[in-house]
């Protein structure tokens, strides 16, 4: 593994990244996860239930941003506890006619929030924003490190 618990400090940034999202990504996530709720792929249905448009699955956002942590830790199995609250929807524009242009861009930054030397774990606090607003709150991943 790339990271050792002994070298970490609380407040240390582990990195940051962006996740580009298209409507096609949401269809792929719907299929892979089994969550076929039409608010994630059908504009008319989303508007019909009072949303401004198609929104990403909260679980898509949660699942994609944690890659920052797994890649940093060096092993996806290092994540022993991962939680978040979903506060704001990520609205994904229909850019189907413009290949390569994302329908939404989510930004993520990870900081070491706590270290438990006895259990050899570190809590990584993720800040996840879309259009400058936090979409996940208390997004925390606990990783077990050597």
């Amino acid at each position: 593994m790339a990271v050792s618990i002994s070298t970490l400090e609380v407040g240390q940034e582990i990195g940051s990244t962006t996740v580009d999202i298209t409507r096609q990504d949401l269809v792929r996530y719907a299929g892979a996860s089994g969550d076929l709720n039409p608010i994630h792929w059908n504009q008319a249905f989303a508007e019909g239930v009072g949303l401004p448009g198609v929104i990403a699955h909260g679980m898509f956002t949660m699942g994609s941003v944690v890659q920052l942590v797994t890649d940093w830790a060096g092993d996806p199995a290092a994540v022993v506890d991962y939680q978040t609250r979903f506060t704001k929807p990520v609205l994904v524009e229909d850019t189907t006619a413009e290949p390569g242009r994302p329908g939404a861009v989510v930004e993520v930054t990870g900081v070491v929030g706590a270290i438990d030397a006895e259990r050899s774990t570190a809590r990584i606090d993720l800040t996840v924003t879309f259009n400058g607003q936090k979409v996940l709150v208390k997004a925390q991943a606990v990783v077990k490190l050597p």
Binding site: G34, M59, Q67, D71, G74, P76, A77, V79, Q83
Partner: protein, 149 residues
Amino acid sequence: MTIDPDLQGRSYPAGETYSVGREAIRDFARAVKATHPAHYDVEAAAALGHRDLVAPPTFAIIVAQRADAQLIADPSAGIDFTRVVHADQRFVHHRPILAGDQLVAELHVDQVRAMGGGAMITTRAEISTVDGEPTATTTSSLLVRGEDQ
């Protein structure tokens, strides 16, 4: 529809077995844009000490949402699926989920709180192998919006 106030404390026994396949792990990893080789390549997973492909940290949602579906489909619970919003989610992994695992989930309704005209329902899925080895505990809060919300 109104939420049954006696829902809290209810449990649903393990339903069908979920068989974790390599292609399901690869498909789910691609779907969450995870690129770590341990999700795709058995040798890369083995190099990290895993007997087979490692599922991404949120993969257990597939098993958890199947368990939740039992509750949502239960007419006596009184939940209108079209009014459900996912409010929070937690995964505690007792050990990583790997390709080849045969998983079952027992669902518990831990809390039901009235919220305006609707309710916040917290469910917990205890996921284990068919042999009884604890694998993951997932907790979800679902906000069921009231008729006027």
